[in-house]
Symmetry: C2
Subunit: 334 residues, 2 copies
């Protein structure tokens, strides 16, 4: 059995979205146990709304404290050892769980994951990998906001971590990596991107296609070919991610104003579903010695369910062993 | 009469889009003369397709050379003094024209504009201002790619230049400025954005609302209020601009696949029109002593027409005098 600890107190719709997401995940994934981490009375009250649910694969793990969305991450993690985030990740550290999923305070999940799980030897910084939906396969953009300023070497590390995830979870046999830049030529970009481009060109073990541009992400390819993994620093990645999240809302506003009747159509709703992050199951933190998935604060039950599914897949495929092997092999630069 | 020089040789659809755009602009703007700059035989051959056109406000200015899209900007500007870009801007410098519009090599337009027109005293760097369409009024994002690495002081300069443009051309009485960042709090972002935030907070003469996030651009507001002008460096701005340009293509692909019949509807086409940059008339280069508008290489006649309209408006409203006054008043920091 794969044990996934789920922060029952995190997110804007907790504990309802979490409990419903957990129940949906269990129906989908027979080999998974969900550990609901949170205030027992709150979680049990929510569970009581689902009287028919099989408790055999649904555990409740007590955590009396809650880290709020607005709290300073590192201080909150230190001050609240009994919070659902710290308890859930502590359980994984102690060997009592295989993965952690939370829609709570992103900074606190990042800090607690790094501190409690630690980082694989050879990894410089853990990175948030965010799948961007496209018309075909999702494209993985990293870093999504964990690392604001990045050295060229750290960007190379993100390329390697993203490549392992793309192989194991996104099922890309030979993931192609692009560096996000403002043009394709070698000399384009700022100092860091120019150096990173040279480093990535020389790197072995990854399939680097070259500099790509903003328009190539949603297209899923640049002039140089297909793209699976897009590398950038967390400043650009986070701005782009939030910008993309707002696109569906813009389209919805425009359609509501000019052609509201089409919103009732199932085929039109399908277009919005592609733009919706919910289907893509949260953003995994890669590079830590364990499994930690960060969900959007506004996650509903479908997003939680998918995050549990991805967490279980990360355990099942041995993603961490693959990352450990990739980085234990030493520097990949020729 | 306002004289707008139009590069007849620039862009993917030149000279057809340029000639058609010029003719459309003249019908719309009775006080404008368009100067078509390019190879006379090429331009005249295109004009011959419009036998009824009134040549009274349509001049042809000879320029025997053409700068290609792939040429190195600065070298091309130096090597080709008879190119349409250099001749068109040279005409403005010599007093024979009031504004320049081109869909040609962006880097070459930037270089030639800066060299030939010069920069207003007090302006550190000229900036490309890109209007982002939203559900309501467009939001002006700058820098759009002219300045890859920016100091906090340069970002402040962009805020001031953008504010003047928003007042004069976008008709915002009191333009509100946001700094693009990864969170609203003072301590968020990289070193440059933290310093820029402090500088903008202290600045007088602009209306700074604070740090904004990627999602706030298309919304047209952050938690802190409405946003008219978004300041960021040219690396982030260019990536974001190109990403946004690709959104309409993604939506079109998705709709074509799932609900192709709605594409025939005029009300649905209206949604795509909002997402289409063509309506917004190119990106003005602000800070130079003159008027220079950079159009997308793929501009059609509607985009060219709108760029001529904006160029004429920039002359008419006295944008340059307002920028000169704003920057002559000295450093705006309290």
């Amino acid at each position: 059995m794969i044990r996934v600890a789920l922060d029952a107190m995190g997110g804007d719709h907790a504990p309802q979205a979490e409990v419903e997401g957990a129940i949906a995940a269990l129906a989908l994934l027979p080999g998974v146990v969900v550990q609901l981490v949170g205030q027992v009375e709150v979680v049990e009250a929510e569970l009581a709304k689902h009287p028919g649910v099989d408790r055999g694969r649904l555990e409740v793990v007590p955590a009396t404290e809650v880290i709020g969305m607005g709290e300073k991450p590192l201080a909150a993690v230190r001050k609240k050892p009994k919070s659902s985030i710290v308890v859930g990740l502590g359980l994984q550290k102690a060997g009592g769980s295989d993965a952690f999923v939370s829609a709570g305070n992103t900074g606190a999940i990042l800090a607690a994951s790094t501190v409690l799980l630690g980082i694989h030897p050879g990894v410089e910084r853990a990175t948030v990998a965010t799948p961007f939906p496209t018309a075909d396969l999702p494209v993985l953009v990293l870093d999504g906001g964990a690392n604001v300023d990045c050295s060229p070497k750290e960007l190379l590390g993100f390329a390697r971590l993203g490549s392992v995830f793309a192989r194991d979870i996104l099922r890309r046999e030979r993931p192609l990596v692009g560096l996000l830049n403002i043009g394709e030529e070698d000399e384009k970009g700022n100092a860091v991107s120019r150096q990173a481009h040279e480093l990535l060109k020389q790197a072995t073990g990854i399939n680097y296609i070259g500099n790509i541009e903003g328009r190539d992400i949603l297209a899923g390819h640049s002039k140089l070919g297909h793209v699976d993994v897009v590398v950038t620093d967390g400043f650009v990645g986070n701005i782009l991610l939030k910008f993309y999240e707002s696109v569906a809302r813009l389209i919805l506003r425009l359609v509501k104003r000019t052609a509201p009747d089409i919103l009732d159509r199932a085929d039109v709703q399908e277009v919005f579903r592609v733009l919706d992050y919910a289907e893509y199951g949260g953003a995994p933190l890669l590079g830590v010695r364990g499994v930690s998935i960060i969900c959007h604060g506004s996650s509903g039950s479908a997003a939680i369910k998918n995050a549990i599914r991805v967490a279980a897949q990360m355990v099942e495929t041995g993603l961490n062993q693959h990352i450990a092997a990739e980085f234990a092999a030493g520097a990949p630069v020729a």
